[in-house]
């Protein structure tokens, strides 16, 4: 039972990482830019909800504000990143998104302070099965996370819209020549990614606490998942999201005696796992090596 409880708790964290890795993958696919600012987007959306709730706004209005903030950040991200996406300048797109993320976090810290906040102050309600338990926000994270991931995979692989997205990802010039508005596709993807990131931010805040840096560690883990899983493989990304989060959590949770490791070693474990997987499969878990093209 101990193992299953640790696994269940780790699955919640793994799904949080997955829910950021999927939008990262989608944004990368269409723009070839790693959008590091998605972590801060998650935090900003959660703070918007917090602002509404603490000012006694109705829940619907607070959620509406959170949605507006997510879309606004998506708009700002589009304005900043689109020129680099068009130039296929992924490195400077990465730097811009990094700066955006840092700046947004700093702004949130100035506006709301750096000490944590609770969206739900009381002890969280839980679902119980015998000795196993999971918090309700945690359960919803897993259920909705898995559902959204399955939906994303289906959308990308089975629908006309997914084909449009894949064509822009493959070759945006050719896609443009077929009258597909690549810029519009990137904008829509960014908006969807921001909404998904916002959802993760809110669910993570509900499950733990809200701080300006709540998105940063998650987005870093999501990045590792994207790299390890393969930037061109959504299935690989999904697998990797769970591997890079579950393995360190399980190692910490199940270790004992001489090999006992506490949570403070987690980032080192993530680094070691990422190093091993990247050396073994530098192109991704499920991606075959390709001939380099100039």
């Amino acid at each position: 039972m101990f193992f299953w409880q640790i696994l269940l708790n780790s699955l919640v964290i793994g799904t949080q990482v997955l829910l950021l890795a999927v939008p990262l993958y989608l944004v990368y696919s269409v723009s070839k830019i790693y959008h590091l600012g998605l972590g801060a987007t998650a935090a900003a959306t959660a703070y918007a909800l917090y602002f509404g709730l603490t000012n006694d706004w109705p829940l619907g209005l607070s959620i509406g504000l959170a949605v507006i903030v997510a879309l606004a950040v998506a708009g700002i991200s589009y304005w900043l990143l689109e020129p680099f996406a068009r130039q296929k300048n992924s490195l400077y797109g990465l730097l811009t998104s990094f700066a955006l993320g840092l700046g947004l976090e700093a702004l949130l810290a100035i506006m709301f302070g750096t000490d944590g906040k609770f969206l739900i102050r009381q002890v969280l309600p839980t679902f119980q099965w015998g000795d196993l338990y999971i918090t309700q926000p945690g359960a919803w994270t897993i259920i909705v996370g898995v559902a959204l991931t399955v939906l994303a995979v289906a959308l990308v692989q089975k629908t006309p819209w997914g084909r449009t997205l894949r064509s822009v990802a493959e070759n945006s010039f050719v896609a443009s020549s077929l009258r597909i508005n690549s810029s519009l596709v990137r904008l829509v993807v960014l908006m969807g990614a921001s909404l998904l990131a916002g959802f993760v931010g809110i669910m993570t805040s509900l499950n733990t606490a809200l701080t300006p840096q709540i998105g940063f560690n998650l987005v870093l883990m999501a990045f590792v998942a994207l790299l390890v899983g393969g930037v061109s493989s959504l299935k690989g990304t999904v697998m990797a999201a769970y591997i890079v989060s579950l393995v360190p959590e399980l190692l910490v949770g199940l270790s004992s005696g001489f090999w006992d490791m506490s949570a403070n070693w987690k980032m080192l474990l993530v680094f070691i796992i990422a190093t091993i997987l990247l050396i073994w499969r530098p192109n991704g878990l499920l991606t075959k090596a390709q001939r380099a093209v100039d």
């Binding site: 790693y34 900043l80 020129p83 680099f84 130039q87 300048n89 992924s90 490195l91 400077y92 990465l94 730097l95 811009t96 990094f98 700066a99 955006l100 840092l102 700046g103 976090e105 700093a106 702004l107 810290a109 100035i110 750096t114 870093l220 990045f223 590792v224 790299l227 506490s262 403070n264 070693w265 987690k266 980032m267 080192l268 993530v270 680094f271 070691i272 990422a274 190093t275 990247l278 050396i279 530098p282 100039d294």
Partner: protein
């Protein structure tokens, strides 16, 4: 005088790391975000060796050895991964090293750090330290200036623009990139050591996001292969927090305001310099 010397010393230390950032990020297009790791490693390795009673010479050799070992990991990552992947991989190394330093407290002092770090006999006063740091940065900048005029310096610039072209000229971009990573790592480690000699206190906060932001900002601002741009960028990054002190801002806001300012500057620089930053296409 102490405050002036302290600010000058911080500029020199920042400039030493910035040379590494200039060679890798600005000129070589190698997105090595692991310079804060090397900065901290240089400081910790030396101080820990001294803590365990080793002499300065041996401590220095062990520090150099550890820096070479970790930079080898970065070089392997550079050879195997894409540039963006290298950026993320080296970024995580900062967090991983932070976790090791904080958790291995029997060796590193953990979160409490190591107080009363002794300075070498030739650097007992702050003035002496600043003098030798100034001399060192002059030497380093001179060496960089002449390096950029050599075949390999030109090849480094070419790597940002067109790697196959550089390779067609018989220069191994892999080896050149590896050499630049090694040089940048050694410079960052040296800067970390000088910082800890100045402050005489070492804790995990010596490196982290602030150093990373500074490194990245310099890497972007010093986009031209000119030493003057590098000095200007390093000066700018050092003086920004001092300028903020002049405003009567709540002290609890200053830290976050500094980060916000760096972020805005980075974004503005990236957008306005993108014509210079992006590789030129020749048709």
């Amino acid at each position: 005088m102490g405050y002036f010397f302290t600010t000058l010393a911080r500029f020199f230390e920042g400039a030493i790391v910035s040379v590494g950032a200039h060679l890798t990020i600005s000129l070589g297009g190698i997105f090595l975000f692991g310079l804060p790791t090397m900065y901290a490693l240089g400081a910790y390795a030396f101080v820990v060796c001294q803590k365990f009673g080793l002499g300065s010479g041996l401590s220095f050799l062990i520090t150099l050895g550890l820096v070479l070992l970790v930079s080898l990991v970065f070089i392997l990552a550079y050879w195997k991964l894409s540039n963006e992947s290298l950026a993320i991989f080296t970024l995580i190394s900062v967090l991983a090293f932070d976790a090791v330093v904080k958790s291995w407290d029997s060796v590193t002092g953990g979160v409490l750090g190591i107080a009363g770090v002794a300075r070498p006999s030739a650097l007992q006063t702050l003035g002496q330290l600043v003098f030798w740091e100034g001399a060192l940065i002059v030497i380093i900048l001179t060496l960089e200036y002449f390096f950029l005029k050599t075949k390999f310096g030109r090849a480094l610039l070419g790597m940002r623009e067109n790697i196959p072209l550089v390779q067609s000229l018989g220069i191994s971009s892999k080896k050149l990139g590896a050499a630049m990573i090694l040089v940048a790592s050694i410079l960052a480690a040296l800067a970390g050591l000088l910082t800890v000699w100045r402050i005489q206190f070492l804790d995990p906060s010596i490196a982290g996001m602030v150093v990373l932001i500074q490194v990245v900002t310099v890497g972007i601002l010093a986009v031209k292969p000119k030493v003057s741009w590098l000095i200007g960028a390093a000066l700018f990054v050092t003086l920004v927090p001092e300028i903020l002190r002049l405003f009567d801002l709540p002290s609890t806001m200053v830290g976050n305001l500094r980060v916000l300012l760096y972020a805005v500057i980075l974004i503005v620089a990236l957008r306005s310099l993108k014509g210079w930053l992006a590789p030129k296409r020749f048709v």
